[in-house]
């Protein structure tokens, strides 16, 4: 068993094993879940450390393992990492462990909960490690279904049923659109293989016809886009995360959601470069919807979880912007933000889950002054808020700055970029600081007298771990960016080889108002298609 297979297989095996543990052995279940995710996280760290020295195969992947699965269709179990998914696998494994740690307050149907949590963790890691389109999708669905069930059964809040219904409907539709797109890609490429490297090689030699590219690319863009809560298909996200149990929100917002972005970078961009050029302008304007619209919405929230949910949707905009810039620094930045936001989202949802567990509410008008009662959790929340508004020193800063540089380099995106910076620096700071003030500062209400901080090392561990990761990659972003760059470069080269890098609009026009309008009208035209 290769190390990657162990990383994704351990949680799945543990899930199967848990099914045979009698219902009353609560301690054993928790131990198995923690043990499996911890082992898989440690292996992921090991993988990360051994990555530079590992042998590279002809396609540039390391730690590969390939087992033929369905020969006649060209499906194989094929896992491997390169710079782009290495960090995602690491982040996913650490967040999975943190999520298992944060599940201590589940006291109803623990067995099912831990089985689903482990299946979700294994599925997530599998989706990021897979180099075969079939398994890529397969593992994603394996992780997605538990999300719905967990929100439906262990969720909270008055609007739980609506949230479950909405998230199931949106994400199923998104996943199905993406699936049809992926099958169409498989069919129309004529390569008769689901293996991503083989497909990439085949398409580099025989590029796809523009007609099929323009058919498939939007399906992937919107299918994956719905999964990532691309504006205006984002409304499931804040409500869903607001109602989800802590661990589910951590895993979904932190890791699983990145699947769509990863799919865009890994599959859609390099395989359909011409269509990518055509659609990226459009995507850039949509991502402003994420950044500005959801940013403003977050400012108006009165519930901490809804605020975090909206801010998490807003952060997706930066990643889309990085992808839309279609240059090395932008794509590298996008991958960096994906990883950083994974840690950050898991941290904030973990903390808000802790606070809700202690106080029973997340209404910000009722909370206040909690920093005095919860010094550790409060301090962690302040740091998370700082990371959320892009303070240097946290991994988000490195990623977001790269994204902005990338977007500035692409002359067609400069206007978008200016708005995006506003969204990041001003709006983000406003809602994050307001949340900190409302929850942590001010007088303490008497009813919070018996609120207790995370004093136990086990309670502190997940938050400490996530904060440490954020800081480590914040101070040494090179650890990631140097690994990402060579592989991001390959993808960027593939995209730009199809069309020389001359943006549709020259720099002078881009600043003028007409170009602005032209871009918009073209966007609406493409939307009409």
């Amino acid at each position: 068993m290769s190390i990657l297979t162990s990383i994704l297989g351990l949680p799945l095996l543990a899930a199967v094993g848990l099914a045979f543990v009698p219902r009353d052995y609560r301690f054993v279940m928790r131990l198995v879940a923690l043990g499996a995710t911890a082992a898989s996280a440690l292996l992921a760290v090991l993988l990360f450390l051994k990555f530079p020295g590992a042998g590279v195969n002809a396609d540039g992947y390391r730690f590969v393992q390939q087992i033929p699965w369905v020969e006649s269709l060209g499906i194989s179990y094929y896992v491997g990492v390169d710079g782009i998914n290495l960090g995602l696998v690491l982040m996913g494994a650490i967040v999975a462990f943190a999520a298992a740690c944060c599940s201590w307050n589940i006291n109803m149907r623990e067995k099912e909960f831990y089985v689903l949590l482990l299946v979700m963790s294994g599925g997530i890691l599998g989706a990021f490690a897979s180099l075969d389109l079939f398994f890529f999708y397969f593992f994603h669905e394996l992780a997605l279904i538990p999300t719905f069930i967990m929100i439906g059964v262990w969720g909270h809040g008055e609007r739980k049923n609506l949230a479950t219904f909405q998230i199931t409907l949106y994400l199923s539709i998104g996943a199905l659109i993406a699936l049809v797109g992926l099958i169409l890609l498989y069919v129309q490429s004529g390569a008769n293989t689901f293996s991503i490297p083989a497909l990439t090689r085949h398409i580099q030699e025989n590029p796809m016809a523009p007609g099929s590219q323009n058919l498939i690319f939007p399906m992937l863009l919107f299918g994956f886009g719905i999964l990532v809560s691309l504006w205006p298909f984002h409304s499931w996200a804040p409500l869903g995360y607001g109602s989800a149990p802590t661990a589910t929100a951590m895993l979904h917002a932190g890791v699983l959601k990145k699947f769509g972005l990863y799919g865009l970078i890994r599959v859609a961009l390099p395989l359909m470069p011409e269509a990518a050029h055509g659609w990226m302008q459009f995507l850039a304007w949509l991502c402003l919807g994420n950044i500005l619209w959801c940013g403003f919405t977050a400012m108006r929230q009165r519930d901490l979880n809804l605020l975090i949910g909206n801010s998490s949707v807003a952060h997706m905009g930066f990643i889309f912007l990085g992808i839309a810039s279609l240059n090395l620094i932008g794509v590298t930045g996008a991958v960096l933000v994906m990883i950083a936001h994974g840690f950050l989202a898991a941290l904030t949802f973990g903390l808000s889950g802790y606070i809700r567990q202690q106080t029973g509410t997340l209404e910000m008008s009722e909370l206040g002054g909690l920093l005095r009662k919860l010094p550790f959790v409060g301090a962690a929340l302040v740091m998370a808020a700082m990371a959320g508004c892009g303070l240097p020193g946290f991994a988000n800063f490195a990623g977001e700055v790269s994204v902005f540089f990338g977007a500035w380099q692409n002359e067609a995106l400069r206007v978008v970029m200016v708005f995006a910076v506003w969204g990041a620096l001003v709006i983000g700071a406003v809602y994050m600081l307001r949340a900190v003030r409302a929850v942590l500062h001010g007088p303490v209400a008497d009813k919070w007298n018996d609120v207790s901080d995370a004093t136990n090392a086990w309670r502190k561990l997940p938050f400490a771990l996530l904060l440490a990761s954020l800081l480590a990659f914040g101070f040494f972003p090179r650890l990631l960016s140097e690994k990402i760059k060579p592989d991001a470069e390959k993808i960027v080269m593939m995209v730009n080889a199809a069309r020389p890098l001359t943006p549709a609009l020259s720099a002078a026009e881009a600043d003028s108002e007409e170009a602005h309008a032209a871009a918009r009208s073209r966007d609406t035209a493409t939307e009409g298609n």
Partner: protein, 484 residues
């Protein structure tokens, strides 16, 4: 002619007669166990069929009967279905007042009819096989004589079944009249030769259309689906299961033989008709299933929608589409039978087959709750279960054709919409099981060992087909080769 080529059918019929005769000598309290014996016998035939390979001269009765790869695939399929349905019938036997041995032997006769249908290479044998299935089902559907709903279902099935048989005979008469032959091979040869002028012969096409009415009734495709919900709801549950799996698969294999062996030229012209029927069937089945509260009725509508998905593969008219149909049917076999076994075991009180009466099942029997959940999720087509890979293959085959005929893209779009709609009602069942409120009955469900094994076999089937598709994929592709 080598009579041994029919050995599976002959032994199956002998077994059925044996069960009937055994009824004369067995004391009443031991008749129930006859079902185990019958399923063991069918198991032996299944093993025999697994050891059989396609003979060098596959024809019998002057090419009326053929034992090719396709026939063998479906024979195994029907034998597996029969074993599981017989085991289900044993669990159900306490709800049949009298004549349980007849019930077993009728199942065996219907199964023999399906085996003949799998091998039909001639319109006469096609009709005889279908009548053997349909007539036995008239009895099987109305077997709970004390229940008005069962009798009502029987009458409905009888009237609509007889009507569709009449249409079919009428159609076959036209086909024979214009082509001068019953044999699929002869008709295909005549169609291929331009001087016969059969492709444009309106009477021939008219006959073919009437034949499709009969087959459409069997597989419950729109607009011949009207009987399905009522009959599914009213019939004894093992009968419903056998209708859903066996009868539908028999219709599918005959449809494929007629369309791809006898009249491939006409099929190539009629793809639009098939696309429209497929789209309507998917939409009708899924939309009507949404408001259902009776679990068997819901499965009736869901079976209509699955007929639509299967037709999608047939409309594609490629080898990939055909093998996808075989794959999908095999996954459907285990999935639907799992659901019906759970219904038989849990909803003993015949009046209450409401979805809401499944509430609290996860406390009464975690295994059955898991089985029902897995079955529903597989029907919805979610990985890693059998239904997902089947749908993937069907959609893939339609998308391949889409490059040529744009309307297949629309069909795939409708199929995707259908899947999304179906999520709502399939997950509704899951919801009823796990958080459907307080259970009316809290006693644990007692499971006999054979019942547990039946459930386990279905679950293993669903998971194996879904996770490791390779062996079945190869079998389906090999079977489809016999159409070339």
């Amino acid at each position: 002619m080598n009579v041994l080529i029919l050995k599976h059918e002959i032994t199956l019929l002998l077994l059925a007669l044996g069960v009937m005769l055994a009824d004369l000598w067995l004391p009443p309290e031991r008749k129930r166990g006859l079902g185990y014996l019958a399923s063991a016998g069918v198991g032996a035939i299944l093993i025999c069929s697994l050891l059989t390979s396609v003979p060098e001269s596959p024809f019998a009765f002057r090419q009326m009967y053929v034992l090719d790869g396709m026939a063998l695939f479906f024979k195994r399929f029907f034998l597996v279905a029969t074993i599981l349905v017989l085991l289900m019938a044993v669990e159900f036997s306490d709800r049949i007042q009298a004549g349980i041995s007849e019930y077993y032997s009728l199942i065996l006769f219907a199964s023999a009819g399906m085996m003949f249908a799998a091998s039909a290479n001639d319109f006469a044998l096609l009709f005889v096989a279908l009548e053997l299935i349909t007539v036995t089902f008239y009895v099987l559907v109305s077997f709970q004589r004390g229940r008005a709903t069962s009798l009502e279902a029987g009458v409905k099935y009888l009237i609509i079944g007889a009507l569709s048989s009449a249409f079919m005979v009428f159609g076959i008469a036209f086909i024979f009249g214009t082509s001068g032959s019953f044999n699929f091979g002869d008709i295909a040869a005549k169609l291929a030769s331009p001087e016969a002028g059969l492709v444009n012969n309106k009477l021939f096409l008219f006959g073919l259309l009437f034949l499709l009415v009969g087959l459409g009734f069997k597989i419950a495709a729109v607009p011949f689906q009207i009987w399905a919900p009522d009959v599914y709801q009213g019939a004894p549950t093992p009968t419903t299961a056998f209708l859903a799996v066996g009868s539908k698969a028999a219709g599918m294999v005959l449809l494929m033989r007629v369309l791809f062996v006898a009249v491939p030229e006409v099929t190539a012209q009629w793809w639009k008709l098939l696309v429209v029927i497929s789209a309507l069937t998917i939409l009708y089945g899924n939309l009507c299933a949404l408001p259902q509260t009776n679990i068997k009725r819901l499965l009736g509508y869901s079976s209509i929608s699955h007929a639509g998905y299967l037709l999608l593969g047939i409309a594609a008219a490629t080898t990939a589409g055909q093998s996808a149909v075989l794959y999908y049917l095999s996954g459907y076999l285990f999935t639907v039978l799992a659901a019906f076994v759970v219904i038989v075991l849990v909803l003993r009180d015949t009046g209450a087959e409401e979805i809401s009466s499944l509430a609290g099942l996860h406390q009464r029997s975690p295994l059955l709750a898991a089985a029902m959940t897995i079955s529903m999720v597989s029907l919805a087509g979610i990985p890693p279960l059998a239904g997902f890979f089947g749908k993937l293959l069907l959609i893939k085959s339609a998308l391949v054709v889409g490059a040529e005929h744009q309307s297949f893209y629309w069909l795939v779009g409708i199929a995707v919409v259908g899947v999304v709609i179906s999520l709502a009602y399939y997950l509704g069942v899951v919801r009823a099981i796990y958080w459907g409120g307080e259970a009316a009955e809290k006693s644990a469900v007692t499971l006999s060992l054979p019942a547990t094994l039946t459930v386990a076999a279905c679950l293993v089937g669903i998971l194996f087909i879904g996770i490791y598709p390779n062996p079945l994929m190869k079998a389906a592709e090999a079977a489809v080769l016999s159409f070339k």
